[in-house]
Symmetry: C2
Subunit: 347 residues, 2 copies
């Protein structure tokens, strides 16, 4: 009635106080109606508050709620990158699962800068998330390992949960998928198809899960009864790295090969680009296999043999653990999918 209305200039956001005032009730009552759990408010008040809130366009101030409640319905996801199709698929799966559990996800990206991981954990800790999820990076020999672990432990001590995805380099609960086993089975299948002489493209960056893929594949080939020859190279961990490595091979080396296994689909495609540039046809002249089974890549020609990982399951297990501890280390299976890029050899 008496307030000078319709000024220009940023008005103060509508607060619970405003709503309470307008509804003619106390702040706590308004709070109970708008957020609280049990419906212990008289119907008459209830409707008044609701009306006032709607008229004023009230939105609860999340920060205030967090600070008052001391907890936050948020999980923080630390991930290497987001344009990478593998990680964006992972992030999407996690967000879907989180939403189903009424959790917000705050995403932070390391861009593969090792030290950022520590910074991000520090920063995220300030958001008081229910859990911090580390997906993806994970070095064979973690550079800032000690500090990172200390930081995460402090976070856990104050009630936060730490969940790792596909990395076992840190002493926290982990959702793994079986990189070693998946690659091993793939190798076994390919050996069964007649492949003997293969090149494995690993990662120059010493990522643990990637090294497991290399080792799994080598083991799988070695296990096959036939005598096999498997070389391993460690180019840069990118599409370009894989391509460039292929471009750098001698004609002789290339001739001898029957198969290139790259530790990710992305690198497999780089390898294919390189092989084609060298004048080879896939799969007629040489076969190629990858790892991850990225759906965005369903259109490459020829369809890529790879190892499929059930990201939805991974996400489900991850969120479950983010909400409450669960001692046993579930390992989500990763299983080979043979497609046209690796046909049976010697028909």
């Amino acid at each position: 009635m008496s307030e000078p209305q319709s000024d220009e200039g940023p008005r103060r956001p509508v607060t619970l106080d405003d709503v309470a005032l307008r509804a003619g009730v106390s702040q706590p009552t308004a709070s109970r109606v708008l957020n609280g759990s049990a419906r212990k408010v008289a119907e008459s008040y209830r409707t008044k508050v609701l009306a006032a809130a709607r008229e004023l366009g009230y939105t609860p101030n999340l920060a205030a709620q967090v600070i008052a409640r001391g907890s936050s319905r948020t999980v923080a996801l630390i991930i290497s990158g987001i344009s990478d199709p593998y990680f964006s698929a992972m992030a999407a799966a996690i967000m879907r699962q989180a939403e189903a559990n009424d959790l917000r996800v705050s995403i932070a990206v390391t861009d593969r800068r090792v030290d950022r991981e520590l910074d991000l954990v520090r920063e995220l800790r300030g958001q008081q998330p229910q859990a911090i999820i580390l997906a993806g990076t994970g070095y064979v020999d973690p550079p800032s390992g000690g500090e990172l672990i200390a930081e995460l432990q402090r976070y856990e001590e104050t009630g936060g949960r730490v969940v790792l995805i596909s990395r076992t380099d840190l002493p926290f609960e982990t959702v793994r998928f079986d990189n070693h086993e998946g690659a091993r089975e793939l190798a076994a299948e390919l050996a069964g198809l007649g492949y003997r002489r293969s090149l494995v493209l690993g990662s120059a960056t010493p990522l643990l899960s990637m090294q497991q893929r290399v080792e799994g594949f080598v083991a799988g080939m070695a296990q096959s009864s036939a005598d096999t020859a498997t070389e391993v190279a460690y180019p840069e961990f990118t599409w370009e790295g894989a391509r460039d490595h292929i471009l750098g091979l001698s004609d002789d080396e290339l001739q001898r090969l029957q198969l290139v296994f790259a530790i990710t689909d992305d690198m497999a495609l780089g390898a294919i680009a390189g092989l084609r540039a060298r004048g080879l046809r896939i799969p007629e002249d040489i076969a190629v296999a990858g790892f991850d089974d990225i759906t965005t890549l369903r259109d490459v020609v020829p369809p890529l043999t790879t190892v499929h990982v059930a990201l939805d399951t991974v996400a489900e297990e991850t969120i479950k653990r983010a909400l409450s501890p669960d001692g046993d280390v579930r390992t989500v299976p990763a299983s080979p999918v043979v497609r046209a890029s690796t046909p049976r050899l010697h028909g």
Copy 2:
């Protein structure tokens, strides 16, 4: 000395109070060295506070800072999906640009559910972000338009900024890229290559920017001197939708076509899958073009003719506007990239 240490059970997080106490200074002093701007603190105190903070593993409680300061160094990004390579590229570009400006990004996904957009805006408003960025959806005839606009206006009135990306259906500052013009130029180039009879795959979901692509292409073809015939279809706005539409065409219709233009690369790939299933070779029997120039798709065969959008520029302009108003509606160019999927026709 006297505190009973090493309990089990969630300890309370370390607060500024704890740090101040340990450093033997007052809370504000601790605050000033740890966060405040001017270095108006004696060097002796300064070092003590820093030491205490490090020893205790202090992290500022972000929520408390937000509530005390009233502002948040965060921008909220509302996006259709994140596994979609186009949107993940967009999100990545925005995050990169935001990081460069010391902003956090909180991502929310609509999953193409129309009404979610309104809910998300409400929810995000509670986070008091500096800006809300709406990327992507944008209906020709916004279903919840009125309410959405009201909500966003309220947000702006309280000092928040609203920035739209590639949608002009709402009365807020917009970073556009020229869907119409990009498609028009593409059509002109293709007409120049000899294409006359084409099929345009639009979107059954009435998305404004998508409709602009359709119209731009149609206009471009019509402008070409030669007499052209352009049909437009509106299948579901997905890879499958495009494929299924192709599968549903009669042999006759298919025979007549020289070119399929799909309004996104993703749909273009669906179309290719359909065409191949129908026994056609690309580009020998029929040409295909898309829109977006998604980098993840660099490996499709044949390389796809498409329209490139400079997402980095889009992101840059977006963040700039998120930080401060900037009246003029910059339109980021979108320009055709002709590749092997649309070779010159008739030698």
